[in-house]
Subunit: 83 residues, 2 copies
């Protein structure tokens, strides 16, 4: 079966996000003062071929922990859908 | 009221995603052969102060179109939650 994992990788709340701060200032300069805080991370989609949803879940977590996420500075969450 | 916009910005399906291709190869080298395709975009959260949900929605779309998204190469979707 084919599954799609939708992964969000975001900088930890406790850490500064300089890219987000810069974008926040730019939005204010453009007149969008309603925006108060911006944080920027990555959105990753994986297409996975697996026998069961559990297997797809295991592959997603392994990919995140081994390669996609730096757990010292980032946190991730994901949802898994059947493709 | 405070709202949080969760925005996903992804490269258009029709376009190559070299970063995703590179990550896909790396995952295969790590033994994760179940993963067949990878696409990488950005995940952005905006904290918005607005009177109504419609106002927050308008601010989100303006931010995306004016600054956050290059609509020639990228597509975006978002969800809005009350913070």
């Amino acid at each position: 079966m084919k599954y799609t994992a939708h992964i969000n990788v975001m900088p930890l709340k406790e850490l500064l996000d300089p890219q987000g701060k810069a974008v926040n200032s730019s939005l204010h300069n453009l007149g969008l003062v309603a925006v108060q805080d911006v944080r920027i991370g990555r959105h990753i989609t994986l297409n996975i071929e697996a026998a069961t949803k559990e297997e797809a879940q295991a592959a997603t977590e392994e990919a995140c922990k081994k390669l996609l996420v730096n757990q010292v500075m980032e946190a991730f969450d994901y949802t898994l859908t059947e493709a």
